[in-house]
Structure formats: structure tokens, C-alpha cells
Amino acid sequence: MRREEVLKNIKGKFKGDIIELFDKSSKRVYIEIKPQSLVKVATYIFKDLKARFNIASGMDARLHIEILYHFTIEPINLLISLRVKLPKDKLEIDSLAPVFEAANWIEREMHELLGINFKGHPNLKKLLLPDEWPEGVYPLRAEYKEWDKNAIRDRGL
């Protein structure tokens, strides 16, 4: 399948799920989708289009938390990034780990560093942070000020 066909198929198949499609360059496409459609779209890209899951990257964009799921389709040299925006008062999204094992670790990482709850993840325990890490402190959030020594002292650690 050629690049145009792939994009046309995605657009046709998920008309109601896509919010915005940004065709950045010949190698990069950013598709913003509704959070509840993630598993559907990601499964299609991974299983049907035979893409490789690169990684996901979470980010605190002040007003919302944003996750980008990056997939590469090698034969057409296209990197598709699925963008979902989660409101800060409801940080929940379906887990991709049951669909493909590659999403397992990165969801654990985003869970502990950004505080996103991945529904249906088989084992959401800590990956990188120590076991004693306090609940509700998320290092990659914008309000995190842990390099400030006073904050550490005030928390009693």
C-alpha cells in the first residue's frame, strides 16, 4: 500500500474518531484522535497496517496532558503519531498493553511519571521510581518542583 492509500484508509475508516490530521512532511504524520477511540485506531495501525510501535511520549501541556503514540510503517517510511489529549481532572485512557506487549513498560513509565491511569493494564507497578516514592507526586508534571530543596524538606524526606 502506498502512503496516500494508507492515509486515505485511516481517514475513511475512522472518520468520527479523528479530530485533526496534520501532514507534516513526507515521513511524518500527526493524527489527533478522541481518547476513547485509541485502542480501535492503534490496533488497526499495529495489526492491519503491520506497523512497529516505536514508543509513546507523554507531556504535560499545562491545560491538558497529551500522549503521543508513535508507529512506524517501514515499507512506506512513514511515522504516524497518534495524539490524544486528556483533561487534567480525568486522566484515564484504555491500555494498549493487552493489544501488544510493547506498550507494557512505557505505560508503566507514564503512569508513575505523569499520573495517567491506564485502564486494563495487566500490571501497573512502578518501573523506574523507587518503591518508597510518595503517592501523587509526578516528576514530569509542570507543577513538579522537586529540584527545589525546600520542597523536599517540606515534604519531610
Binding site: 514508543i55 511520549s57 507531556m59 506487549e101 523506574l128 523507587p130 513538579y144
Partner: protein, 393 residues
């Protein structure tokens, strides 16, 4: 149910000499479960990177890994260039390729030596590391340093390659080929190595795809994916070379892929030196506008992935780093279960793990302030043992 025993390996690996903790559950001789714990080596590089300017970031990410120190700057500068679609001068592209391939040669030789060492075959270890010295000398001639070359900058490379260095470099590269051939024979034909590594720790093609395994780990399982071929960057589409793919997915095939890739790398490196175009080595970027960019590079262990978002200032607002071991490490679940404990050490080493890269993530360890005395450490370790005992026995 048969009696189960827990075998802890780590948190400081006795052979790989890096901080990780494997909990192997065994029944008799057979491994029935494995749990990997990482996170002993956090440095908070992603967060540090948000406080640095685009010119400083390549230096920061160069410190992520001590072995493949050039892979991260390589992917990182490509991510920065991807934001604005900046075109890099031809000569810089060739020089980048030469740095990247030189690194692959010494990294693969390092792994080969260690793999021999893990199997008790120390002759391979000594030979491989002796050869690696020659390549490190080449790196020193070209970039002034055995490691951490500081060659990369957004828009090009920092230093040019001097014409008068090239004869020495070629002489050294050519001098290692006969010994490397011998080493290849020693690995491919040795009956002891066959016995220890063939059919051991098999990663099937389906599992490799499911785990999105990368680099030699996936190519040994018949997955024909290599960033250098699939999404050509630098000068990889201008030189002739082959992607090495084998089908069995066992430890032996992973070794074969790495040995053969070393020859390909020498081949690429020589072609780039012979065809080095004249011209500038730097595009002189003045500013980076707002936007997001992704850079990938096929490091010795697999694809390195960098995502950078800029808001138009001179620092990024998000910098995501994904090292290949992050994707390759979970494949242990697929390869080690059902194997014997004696094979565990070589299976765990077969993906060429690099924990420094994997754990670049979290922010400062808040416990860093608290200092433990010797007695307290012993007490903590005893408590932990008791906790494990209560849980599993």
C-alpha cells in the same frame, strides 16, 4: 506444584557490571518466571534537557550511554532538524555516518568479547577487545577522543575530518580485518559455542513483533527492519551495504548478526571515507521555530528514538528519549522462561542490554539526601530478604 526457588541476580550484575535486578523463579533447573527491576541509575536527563539550549542538548544526551555515546546525539540532532526540515550539508552527512559506524564496530566487538566471557570462552574475550582497541584508536585519530566524541550539532558536525589523518585511519581499519575473519570463524565454527548457544533463548518472529524488539535482537528473529535501510538518513542511502537478517532467533543467531554487521560497518565506513565530498560541514542554524520533531538512528543495539517539542524559544519544552534496550529488555519474558538456569546469564546478555540508556528517565532521587551507614544497609538488606522469604516460601 514442585518446590520453587528464587534466584536473585543483582542489583549489581556480577558480569554485566551494570545496575539491574533480575528475580528468577526456578523449579529445579528450569526458569519458570522472571521479573526485571530497573531504575537504579536515574539521572533525570529528560528533565535536565528541558533546561538546556538546543546547542547544549547534544552534550547532555551524549552522556546517556558510555558505550554508544554517539547514538543519542545522532538521533537528537535529527529530531531538532526535523522540527524545521533543515537540510544538512553533504560532507556532514558522510562524517556522521563514519562516526556512527565506527561506534557500531567497537560496540559489537565489546559485546562479542563479553559474550565469550559469559560462556567461559575467554580467548574470544581477549581477541575481541584487542581488536576494539584498534577501532578506538581510529576514533581518537578522527575525533580526538576514544569515546564521547562531541561531533554532533544541530545542522551538521562540529569538526571536519582532516585529509592527512585518512591514510592512518585506513591502515588501522584494514589491519583488523584478517583478525576479525579469524574471530568470525572462531564464533561460527566452534563446537563449544554451538553447544552453548544454538537453540537457546529463542525469540520467535511473532514475539519480536509483539514486543517491537529492535536492532540485532529482532533481526536475528527474521524481522527485516533496520532504520538505516527503511528510513535512510545521513549517507546510508549513498553507500552499498546489506542488512544482516537470520531466522532462528537464538543466542547464536544474535551473535552471528553482530559479527556480520561488524564487517558491513567496516565496509560502510571505508566507502564513506573514499567518497567524502568536499564542502561545508555545518548549516549554521540561527534559530528553531515552534513545532515538534522526531529523530531516529539505528544504534548498535537498535533504534534510538528522540522526540523534541519546541515552543520557539531556545530550549525545548519536552524531550523524550527512548533507548533500544527499553524495548528489548521485556523480551526476556519470551526468551528465558523454560530454559535452564545455567543458560540464563547468556540469554540475559544476548540482547546486549544497556541499562544506563534505559533508565535515563526520572528526576532526582529524593532519597539521595539521606546517607545510609554500613549497619543500616545490612539491616535493610536483611529486612528485604525476610520480606521476600515471607512472600515466596
Amino acid at each position: 506444584m514442585a518446590k520453587r526457588t528464587i534466584v536473585p541476580i543483582g542489583p549489581y550484575h556480577p558480569l554485566q557490571e551494570e545496575p539491574e535486578f533480575f528475580t528468577l523463579t526456578i523449579e529445579g533447573e528450569k526458569v519458570v518466571d522472571i521479573d526485571v527491576q530497573v531504575g537504579y541509575n536515574h539521572r533525570g536527563i529528560e528533565k535536565i534537557s528541558e533546561m538546556k539550549t538546543f546547542d547544549q542538548i547534544p552534550f547532555v544526551v551524549e552522556r546517556i550511554c558510555g558505550i554508544c555515546s554517539t547514538s543519542h546525539p545522532f538521533a537528537c540532532v535529527q529530531a531538532i532538524e526535523d522540527i524545521n526540515d533543515i537540510e544538512v550539508p553533504e560532507r556532514a552527512k558522510y562524517i556522521r555516518t563514519i562516526v556512527g559506524e565506527g561506534e557500531r564496530i567497537h560496540s559489537h566487538l565489546l559485546w562479542l568479547g563479553l559474550a565469550g566471557h559469559f560462556l567461559g570462552y575467554n580467548t574470544v574475550y581477549m581477541w575481541a577487545w584487542k581488536l576494539r582497541e584498534e577501532i578506538l584508536d581510529v576514533m581518537e585519530i578522527l575525533y580526538g577522543n576514544r569515546n564521547n566524541y562531541a561531533m554532533f550539532k544541530p545542522g551538521g558536525v562540529r569538526r571536519d575530518i582532516k585529509d592527512e589523518d585518512i591514510p592512518d585511519v585506513l591502515k588501522k581499519i584494514n589491519s583488523i580485518i584478517p583478525t576479525l575473519e579469524m574471530l568470525k570463524k572462531a564464533v561460527m565454527d566452534d563446537p563449544v559455542l554451538h553447544a552453548r548457544t544454538k537453540g537457546v533463548g529463542i525469540l520467535t518472529k511473532e514475539e519480536a513483533i509483539n514486543y517491537s524488539a529492535l536492532g540485532p535482537t529482532s533481526r536475528a528473529s527474521g524481522v527485516t527492519k533496520d532504520v538505516r535501510k527503511d528510513a535512510p538518513y545521513a549517507a546510508y542511502d549513498k553507500v552499498a551495504w546489506d542488512m544482516i537478517v537470520t531466522q532462528n532467533g537464538d543466542v547464536f543467531d544474535k551473535a552471528v548478526v553482530r559479527v556480520l554487521e561488524t564487517f558491513e560497518s567496516i565496509n560502510i565506513m571505508k566507502q564513506c571515507i573514499f567518497n567524502l565530498p568536499e564542502g561545508e560541514v555545518d548549516a549554521n542554524i540561527k534559530s528553531i521555530s515552534a513545532g515538534e520533531g522526531i529523530g531516529t538512528h539505528e544504534a548498535p543495539r537498535g533504534e534510538v528514538f528522540h522526540y523534541i517539542r519546541s515552543d520557539g524559544t531556545n530550549t525545548p519544552i519536552r524531550h523524550k528519549v527512548r533507548a533500544p534496550t527499553f524495548m528489548n529488555l521485556p523480551t526476556y519474558k519470551a526468551t528465558i522462561i523454560g530454559e535452564t538456569i545455567a543458560d540464563a546469564s547468556i540469554i540475559l546478555a544476548a540482547i546486549d542490554p544497556c541499562y544506563c540508556c534505559t533508565e535515563r528517565m526520572a528526576v532526582r532521587d529524593t532519597k539521595g539526601k539521606k546517607l545510609y551507614g554500613g549497619e543500616e544497609l545490612i539491616r535493610l538488606s536483611q529486612e528485604k530478604t525476610e520480606k521476600l522469604r515471607a512472600k515466596y516460601v
